[in-house]
Symmetry: C2
Subunit: 173 residues, 2 copies
């Protein structure tokens, strides 16, 4: 196993390019996916990166990559919010993962200078932004995909699914 | 601007969880999007993370997040491969971006221990893997999206688009 030490020990260092302002200050009340969130908020790009937003308004949806700043370590096997059965962390989207990077697809509503007004936020207020990419139908949509344990949960098109509501049985109940 | 120093100076440190083995050793010959790639290869998860793969085989597609290890800095405004017009970097998927994280959606063909055999690779051999997430139709597919400058390029469903072929006029020509 000695030969793996090189890549395993490598560290990759990033600096945030902005910060996400949402209405959520409690994980329990934060929608568990952007697809389930009606919440509007703002993505503030730090001013030195603002020129990179040119033409972004021509895209209806954006992919946000961000750091789960309140993740608390990780379990390789765990129950995700939407299931009662344990799965490997890479078969879930839970935030307590080895590399705590989150991904949300949000709807872009307006660009005001270096601030993006978006809909569909599922992150805590103050989340550090790593990257913004355009969501591109020609690149990102897959037809005929099979979604493992999520298929059959009946959540497609649902709005308002949070950990607290799942605990209360408000969705599956 | 003093109040922004905190978040701006923050550094986020990640360690790769694996490495991607592809047939590509030259950027010019690497498909510019996974949607355009027929290429098969392997995603090697480092053994200590392998238990996190449990049940991943029940998903047909995976989202790979990885470090663009051969990015060479960034330009905030640039021409993407598929266009002759400059756009802001956040309105493109180019690898020379402030935070050089790449995203590919690949088809999972087989799981062999800690190795994922996948189709649709658009990355250089030796790319360091940061995260694997299941592609979940109920979370990740957006209908009625508008994709800015990419719409109208006529690339949907294309296979084999690389920088070299674009230079030679083989796609647009």
């Amino acid at each position: 196993m000695e030969e793996m030490k090189g890549p395993k020990l490598a560290e990759i260092i990033y600096k945030p390019i902005g910060i996400i302002r949402s209405e959520y200050i409690d994980k329990e009340d934060t929608p568990i996916q952007s697809a389930f969130s009606p919440s509007e908020g703002e993505v503030e790009i730090f001013p030195e990166y603002a020129p990179g937003l040119k033409d972004i308004e021509s895209f209806s949806h954006l992919i946000l990559l961000y750091h789960f700043h309140r993740a608390t370590g990780f379990d390789l096997i765990r129950k995700p919010f939407l299931d009662d059965v344990e799965h490997g962390i890479f078969a879930t989207r839970h935030f307590n993962r080895p590399t705590p990077i989150g991904l949300s697809i949000v709807e872009l509503q307006e660009v005001r200078g270096s601030v993006l007004k978006v809909r569909g936020l599922d992150v805590l207020d103050g989340t550090l932004l790593l990257d913004v990419k355009p969501y591109v139908r020609e690149f990102d949509r897959r037809e005929d995909s099979r979604s493992g344990w999520v298929d059959g949960k009946g959540v497609e098109g649902s709005i308002g699914i949070t950990p607290r509501r799942l605990d209360e049985g408000g969705i599956r109940g």
